[in-house]
């Protein structure tokens, strides 16, 4: 399988790639402006809403959508389903990019980023009760793990490069890397299990400020399950994208079974949430006609629709797979936005809607990720099923 992964090749600077680069450049320029002018001048954040789009979207949603590597690794390495192997490398790449950019978003969001180095280094100052510390250290470690997990792609490129020196260096490194990768891979499953659940635990510290609909001690479990669902959805996106953009063959059967796993997760989440609301005696809250209740129902519809599509076996074409993946990803995204922003009530008089610079940075970071993904799959052996003859580069 590994031998099947090949660089896509072809011209990089296509017209549509230039558009992506332009959006990324606007984002980077806005980031520079943020550091020059400060957070107050560039964001809509306030003492009531200290966390906004960058935390809710780039970090909390972004890392969940970057859980493809985690989700596929569970199937592949824990449940030993070898048929998912072609998906792992592109999934790990998207995860590595998504998590790296989430880390960058944190550095943009915090007010005193020049002290961030202290978080992983000053262990003797760690507040071991801080869930945020656990999330931060876990995510930093996972970014390192993900890039290590990608090194075989680099070695493969060296081996395929035709340069004797590089090939020999690759062969020298490979045996020890393969041995280490077992433990790295296990870490690559442990770390997301920890921090994706803890991202939910995070908001429990808002205590009474968090709306009862989302304020459940099971928040970590719900965040964990939905992150895996979102990871599978992201894998379906990615496969759809590479099949459209690079004309790669797609294995609908594999994607369909991934979608089934994700649908089971979504069904569990929906069912569990109603039981939980009932047990906590706050079911009445979702039958009020207010924004939180309406958004709660939209979340559930977004989760239930893909479950129904899978149950009725309507997920057979790439199009319907894609649609159900979009619904799942939107459901998980809305659930996270609601937990971090809509369900968060700092009291009277506070409002938040992201500013234009905040949106430009978030969109720009997605563009950076997309640009990096395309550049890497064209240069390194990531995607499987690449034909021997160089494919026509589609934009």
């Amino acid at each position: 399988m590994r031998a099947n992964a090949k660089p896509i090749g072809g011209r990089l600077l296509t017209p549509s790639y230039k558009v992506i680069l332009l959006i990324a450049a606007i984002g980077v320029a806005t980031i520079i402006w943020r550091f020059a002018a400060g957070l107050g001048a560039t964001t809509a954040l306030s003492d009531g809403y200290p966390w906004g789009l960058w935390i809710a979207f780039d970090v909390v949603v972004g890392t969940a959508l970057a859980c493809g590597g985690y989700a596929i690794a569970i199937l592949l390495y824990v449940f030993n389903r070898g048929q998912y192997h072609p998906l792992i490398r592109p999934a790990i790449l998207t995860s590595a990019l998504g998590y790296s950019l989430a880390g960058l978003a944190v550095a943009i969001d915090v007010g005193r980023p020049w002290l961030l180095w202290k978080v992983p280094v000053m262990i003797w100052r760690w507040n071991v009760n801080s869930v945020l510390l656990e999330v931060a250290v876990c995510i930093m470690a996972y970014v390192v793990v993900l890039w290590i997990e990608l090194t075989p792609a680099l070695l493969d490129r060296w081996s395929q490069s035709g340069q004797e020196q590089l090939r020999r260096r690759a062969e020298r490194i490979r045996p020890s890397l393969d041995r280490a990768l077992i433990w790295i891979t296990a870490l690559g499953i442990l770390l997301p299990t920890m921090h994706q659940s803890s991202l939910g635990t995070l908001m429990l510290l808002s205590g009474p400020k968090l709306n009862a609909i989302w304020n459940t001690p099971f928040l970590p479990m719900l965040f964990l399950i939905t992150s895996v669902c979102m990871g599978y959805a992201a894998v379906v996106f990615e496969t759809t994208f590479s099949s459209l953009a690079f004309g790669l063959p797609k294995d609908l059967r594999i994607l369909g079974s991934i979608q089934r796993v994700a649908a089971i997760g979504a069904a569990v989440v929906v069912g569990f949430r109603f039981v939980d609301l009932g047990l906590r005696g706050v079911m009445g809250q979702v039958f009020q006609l207010d924004l939180p209740a309406i958004l709660f129902w939209i979340e559930n519809v977004l989760f239930v629709l893909p479950v129904l599509m899978v149950a009725q076996k309507r997920v057979v074409s790439l199009g319907s797979l894609f649609r159900s993946a979009v619904l799942l990803a939107l459901g998980g995204t809305l659930y996270r936005f609601d937990t971090f922003l809509v369900g968060f009530n700092p009291g009277r008089g506070w409002h938040y809607f992201p500013s234009v610079p905040e949106i430009l940075v978030s969109v720009g970071l997605v563009a950076v990720e997309l640009a990096a993904y395309i550049a890497i799959v064209k240069t390194f052996p990531i995607l499987s099923g690449v034909r021997e003859t160089s494919p026509t580069a589609v934009d």
């Binding site: 200290p50 390495y77 915090v110 077992i182 920890m194 908001m203 205590g207």
Partner: protein
């Protein structure tokens, strides 16, 4: 081998379940109580005349700039609420004939949510139980603001090297043997400084001697796990902006879960060992080196 794997997967499922589920009650931590040397404030709304001498004195003592934004013409230092230039503020509640002033500043919680979340302990209960801020440990993540149930920590949004701004009970003045600036200048002794236990006794004495004057609660005695700043009032506390009256400390639920799962790091370590073993065993059977297993062919 198949049964081995099944057993392993079972162990894995159990470990994962333990990691994802909230802690068992047996792991419940002890509810913290106020440190023995805890000091605080007692604010009596029935005595306050709203002169705002405390607000001005606080700004002087803490070297804070005037907040002239409320009226826009730069004339009055009149903050509407706590902000990056204001560590204490007097607000007015008025509805019909009922009115009351209320002083806001850090409550110095016995179990502060801000400190519970703070990664490097920038916000922490230090001497006398005062929740104080250490610039060298703060990355500016603002989790404290997300966590505080009283909306106390303020962030210097206008600065490029922003700090967290909050009342530290004039700890520098305390070190010099003085009392906090706000209690020092209060002409009516509406706000007084002292040891928490003394203030609590005084509050109950006032409640007992003039029961018709007050709502029958000392806010902060038990609310949100108890605070070192205590309040007496003639109007219900929720009208003065105290939104919550639960007696549970804010960090309680999060602590239960986090400690249940991560106590001694045993569950993650066990999960890692199981994962490592599973991946190790599956290696060579197909998935890790990429070829298909027999059953999957």
């Amino acid at each position: 081998m198949a049964s081995d794997r099944r057993a392993l997967l079972k162990g894995l499922a159990a470990a994962a379940a333990a990691a994802a589920l909230p802690a068992v009650p047996a792991l419940a931590r002890q509810t913290p109580s106020a440190p023995s040397d805890a000091v605080g404030l007692l604010y009596d709304a029935t005595r306050c005349i709203g002169c705002r001498a405390c607000v001005v004195a606080c700004k002087e003592a803490n070297d804070l700039p005037a907040d002239t934004t409320t009226y826009g013409d730069g004339l009055y230092d009149a903050p509407a609420g706590l902000n990056e230039r204001t560590k204490t503020v007097i607000q007015l509640y008025k509805e019909g004939n009922e009115q009351s002033f209320v002083k806001k500043q850090c409550m110095h919680c016995i179990d502060p949510a801000c400190a519970a979340g703070c990664m490097l302990g920038a916000l922490k209960k230090r001497e006398h139980g005062i929740v104080s801020w250490d610039a060298s440990r703060c990355v500016g993540c603002r989790y404290c603001q997300t966590a505080c149930p009283f909306g106390v920590p303020q962030f210097e949004w206008s600065k490029k090297a922003p700090k967290i701004v909050k009342c530290e009970l004039c700890r520098d003045r305390l070190a010099e043997g003085k009392q906090p600036a706000c209690t020092d200048v209060c002409p009516r002794q509406a706000v007084i400084f002292g040891k928490r236990e003394d203030l609590l006794a005084e509050a109950h004495r006032r409640l007992a001697s003039e029961p018709d004057q007050y709502v029958k609660t000392v806010y902060g005695e038990h609310e949100l796990g108890g605070t070192q700043v205590l309040y007496l009032s003639h109007v219900p506390f929720e009208k003065l902006g105290f939104r919550f009256d639960s007696t549970d400390a804010v960090p309680k639920v999060q602590h239960l879960i986090q400690h249940g799962v991560y106590q001694g790091f045993l569950v993650p370590a066990a999960l890692y060992a199981v994962l490592g073993t599973v991946v190790f065993r599956n290696r060579g059977k197909g998935s890790v080196d990429g070829s298909l297993t027999d059953e999957e062919k």
